[in-house]
Assembly symmetry: C3
Homo-oligomer: 151 residues x 3
């Protein structure tokens, strides 16, 4: 049970962050769930700033982990239980990068590592990790993903 | 009928903008259609510039709406009729963002709102809205999407 | 046979570039394969820099072609043979763009053209071509794609 895994890891999911406009946090399409862009938001706490200037690499990695947790909160609310996830297919990790900062993979590892901690081998995914010029409201990281659901 | 909906909304689709190089405007794969990056182009009219400096937020939103209309023109040409669309699954909205501009969601709403106007609940989708450093030919917005077709 | 096509084109695939962190170079999901972000890397050779300043448009196009070859190397290793690919569905081409450089489509053509050379009509895909602020380790181009496998 993923719930027990989360508890044993000492992970408490943040509140679901509702979409700020005319869109959905995720969409189930057949046996896939497409999760739209999430940020490092946990209740009132929001990590903002450019990684490589405002934020260190380690802080960026923490932001990516927070973002993954926000995605899991959305998925748990949508699916009822995270055990419905068969595997994580793909992650698109976008880092609010300071000019010249090029360690995006190490930042997005904060998300990838969390997914593998929680789902084990089923959490292993393909991904891109890139540096964006600007992200909404100055958040440090934005991540979207695709996961497969059990039939 | 979507055609009637468009007429009742006073919407006239722009001419199809043909791909500028060795790629396709969209690809049907099974029951999904993947639409590649489109821009705010309607015949000779092209919205260029960075949102937040060259263009205001409202102009950016208009560009996102124009981009959605260009996507619908492509889909109508490919599908014969837009009624074949069962739902919009996912939108990836990329804004040509001036340094420091972080209102990408409000810009991409121009696309999201149009899709909901045209398709109703079936137009509601998940999405990301992010700020790109540069877009082709300086266009203000580039959007790609995935839609599900009726079986 | 794609192997023969590659030979007749004089193309030798580069060594597979292993993921640098906790993720997979690609994931097969049903009849689709999702390939994560690849760069212009062929063994010890890596094309770095911003297209439009450090690198010319032609060099950028070469980087996109190299990136496509690195993707094919990954796919060959994963699939055993490239003939299992039924078609290329979608390419997302991200160019490390110098400020003001807006010829991303001509750069990403280096990838698109290679895919059509190798796969013929089955290589024709939809795509986006955009300018990123920063890419990992300063690589000139990063590309991800989706392909359909034969059933």
């Amino acid at each position: 049970m993923i719930t027990e895994r989360l508890a044993s890891l000492g992970i408490v999911l943040p509140p679901v962050f509702p979409p700020a406009a005319n869109y959905l946090a995720c969409v189930i399409d057949g046996d896939l769930v497409y999760v739209g862009g999430h940020g490092p938001i946990a209740g009132a706490e929001v990590m903002r700033g450019k990684v490589g200037s405002d934020l260190s690499l380690d802080e960026g990695r923490t932001a990516a982990r927070m973002t993954a947790l926000s995605i899991l909160a959305t998925l748990q609310a949508e699916l009822g239980e995270l055990d419905r996830i068969e595997r994580i297919v793909k992650v698109f990790g976008m880092v609010n990068a300071a000019p010249g900062f090029d360690q995006m993979p190490a930042v997005v590892d904060g998300c990838s590592d969390l997914l593998v901690e929680v789902f084990g081998e089923a959490g292993r995914h393909t991904r891109s990790a890139v540096g964006l010029a600007e992200l909404p409201f100055g958040i440090a990281v934005e991540i979207e993903l695709i996961a497969r659901l059990r039939p």
